[in-house]
């Protein structure tokens, strides 16, 4: 699936850069050089970038300008990286956030 806008009335035609590949949760996705992780995943139809650490509800792009941190993912082992502000690099390993243990909370769980 490719949902990129390739012709835009104001921005003109997409000048696609070098094509790259990266992995998100074990699946390989295509991207073009200069695209952010969030943009590349959205173009492939992926909207859920992580789940809420405690409640498990889905999260994706919210502001897309690096303000809200809703799009945070783990990139090559580094946590809390904003998918909307980070350009894809070839071979990048991206993983979504998961529900974390809450053993001290009433009704919480320990993994």
């Amino acid at each position: 699936m490719n949902q990129r806008i390739v012709h835009h009335p104001v921005l003109g035609s997409l000048d696609a850069g070098k094509s790259l590949h990266f992995r998100f949760n074990g699946t390989t996705y295509p991207a073009y050089e200069g695209e952010t992780i969030a943009a590349a995943l959205l173009a492939s139809g992926v909207r859920t970038l992580r789940v809420h650490e405690e409640k498990g509800t889905p999260r994706g792009i919210y502001c897309n300008i690096g303000h809200c941190y809703e799009c945070r993912v783990t990139v090559d082992g580094v946590p809390t990286v904003r998918a909307c502000m980070t350009l894809v690099q070839d071979g990048m390993e991206v993983t979504a956030g998961v529900v974390l243990p809450t053993p001290l909370k009433k009704g919480g769980h320990s993994q």
Binding site: E54, R59, Y62, H67, Y69, E70, V78, P79, T80, V81
Partner: protein, 91 residues
């Protein structure tokens, strides 16, 4: 209006408008106390998305305008920064 239980004001800590309104009504407190009671504004984004709304909930519930003596804080750094970054890593 959308159901206040469905309407999430603080997405980082997943605090609904209903939770904020109920807490503000019950305790007639300051915005800071509301933040501490509900955790709205204490998540990863540092309250930059919901701080204004938390202030407005207090204004609606108590009539206090947002210039409290102890305001909702703006502490440096202006955005979350990891110890890895502070230690010299560039992401």
């Amino acid at each position: 209006m959308m159901d206040a239980h469905q309407l999430i004001v603080c997405r980082c800590e997943e605090v609904s408008l209903a939770e904020l309104l109920e807490t503000a009504e019950a305790y007639q407190c300051s915005a800071r106390e509301l933040k501490l009671r509900t955790r709205a504004g204490m998540g990863c984004c540092g309250g930059r998305t919901c701080r204004m709304l938390v202030d407005q909930v207090i204004e609606q519930a108590t009539g206090h305008s947002p210039s409290h003596t102890i305001p909702l804080g703006y502490q440096p750094p202006v955005r979350p920064i990891s110890f890895q970054t502070l230690g010299g890593r560039n992401r």
